[in-house]
Symmetry: C3
Subunit: 268 residues, 3 copies
Amino acid sequence: MANAITIDSVHAALEALRARRPLVQNITNYVAMTVSANALLALGASPAMVHAVEEVEDFVAISDALAVNIGTLSPPWVEAMCIAVKRANALGKPWVLDPVGCGATAYRTQVAGELAGLKPSVIRGNASEIMSLAGQVGAGGKGVDSTAPAEYATSAAAALAQRAGCIVAITGETDYVSDGEALIAVHAGHALMPLSTALGCSLSAVTAAFAAVRSPREAAVAALAVFGAAGSVAAERCRGPGHLPAEICDALHAMDGATLAAHARLSE
Amino acid sequence: MANAITIDSVHAALEALRARRPLVQNITNYVAMTVSANALLALGASPAMVHAVEEVEDFVAISDALAVNIGTLSPPWVEAMCIAVKRANALGKPWVLDPVGCGATAYRTQVAGELAGLKPSVIRGNASEIMSLAGQVGAGGKGVDSTAPAEYATSAAAALAQRAGCIVAITGETDYVSDGEALIAVHAGHALMPLSTALGCSLSAVTAAFAAVRSPREAAVAALAVFGAAGSVAAERCRGPGHLPAEICDALHAMDGATLAAHARLSE
Amino acid sequence: MANAITIDSVHAALEALRARRPLVQNITNYVAMTVSANALLALGASPAMVHAVEEVEDFVAISDALAVNIGTLSPPWVEAMCIAVKRANALGKPWVLDPVGCGATAYRTQVAGELAGLKPSVIRGNASEIMSLAGQVGAGGKGVDSTAPAEYATSAAAALAQRAGCIVAITGETDYVSDGEALIAVHAGHALMPLSTALGCSLSAVTAAFAAVRSPREAAVAALAVFGAAGSVAAERCRGPGHLPAEICDALHAMDGATLAAHARLSE
């Protein structure tokens, strides 16, 4: 590990992101598009949702990072995803895979596996998705929500990180980032978050934004810490899940070093 | 009628739903996806938006109920809807049809009629849509909003319920549930609700969630009462329609027997 | 200029819109659908999102205006856009073009140019988009956000207005409306607005609603003034961008002459 990742280095990554204002291309699901775009804008990035095969390669060329999410996949979108990630790889641009619902159907699992084989910088999923993607069948996923705690998936994450040659982030009550060997735990977030849709998808988009200014491993940790801290701040202002996405955007927009330190903690 | 449907039985249905946490598959329109997913999560269900023909049958097999909504229909989506509902029928799983904008165009009316012929458990629409679907042409629908009060559609609802062999729910200032013979009126909701998009669509998704734990008739009444009560609680916290979806999610999340009894009333 | 456009005439246009409750058809991007529908409802219009080639012509026939937005374009949607605008022209119905991201890719620029050639009533974009669409290459657009102030695009707007035979609206810190000769500046809005997605797209939909009751030029000015004033009122109630769309809907719903006069100003 070149430099230790700390809350201070995460804050520096956030400042670097805001200074760079990276253009993040998203090929994502219909449910998450608006929430993800708003999270990226509030964070300080510039989002774009572009999926037509007629233009994805051109758009990758002007983007700083790419987020690919299979939540509402269908063949034309999968084709666009494959074209875009190959172009991102050819141009040396980072890209993040969110394998939504991997394990729920054969088609979804096959597409997720195919994309995982195309050298993502980071894979971000819940425990069920990561275990399924790592080939650990019978992981007990329920649709797109996870039924297993993140802890159960840490060895699967390490195996997947080694096999895919990338960073793997698992989200749950505690979040984990594996590079195949070392494991970093990120303590942040709030129990209300799984009750609001598209927050995991938005976190994947935020991970792509950080990957434009930091290594995949630092980006994964930074995204989990910043987004989790924002979720924690936001939940304190909510009586239920309804206003959580809006409050998270406000908290991302206002995030500073002190708030980050108060609401996120890293451990190895 | 086996058991009378009362506010108490509706509350019991809500508790049963929360205990079961049903997985509800949605093949719905682009506008309503995020709002519907959030309403289902806040209610206590687990939503999934899955529409590719490559996986809809597999997903129906792991779902507890299915909601089909033609709001932004196109041929590939209609194909997926037909495949999914046939699979749901084969597996004995309940499904709800929301015939958005039926009557507005020939294509929409034809697709709605085709789906209505595939044995839905519940059809939920506004007065114009139900009258159009029942074959009463010239019902005066205006795009996707209704121009007729729900009362005008009760005989059309009864005819449609008999013809389609299902429960028909009409929403308006007062809501009605017909099984082809008996009619139950649900008094709940608020005048601000038609000024916020996708709430009717979300109600149809909520109806599917209840159909996972109750008969179609009980499910339709329970969904109208719980969602309407949530809308009424939510509107009291709003100065306009902007925050209504978020407030409805908070109200669904916090809904209890006393609040339900205070904000919803049934009559025959 | 037949009649001067003033804040009073804008307010009269808003009252006319509310009295007419125009049905506005949208063929728009996935990100903006929900926000646009809510803005139209809050304003007093009736929105519909309809894009299947099987029904777009029928729907145009019952609509009062059409908004076309290429944000997440793909060939089937572009085909529907072309069919719909030709039908709108044949029936003498106004339509608004939002050339999202024009200049970012060759495909997007070509489609925007093709649509601009089909006699829109109003084209509404940011400075980068308008300069690109006017053929001024090298305008420095960054994805879908603009990197140039609106002032830089006023001559491009005039050229585009003359070439396309329509009204061109440029949005930025100050907004401008050109008919090819005269230029009206609209001073309204708030710096938070670019940090919330789909507000520009929603403004284009609102422009279409006004075009149902006023000339394209009056409609463009009225939409900018009313939406900008709503954004200004809304931003005062926000600590960040998260609640801005909801607050804008509340402000649109409550907009009156005094609020409009206090938050929007016109100059030539």
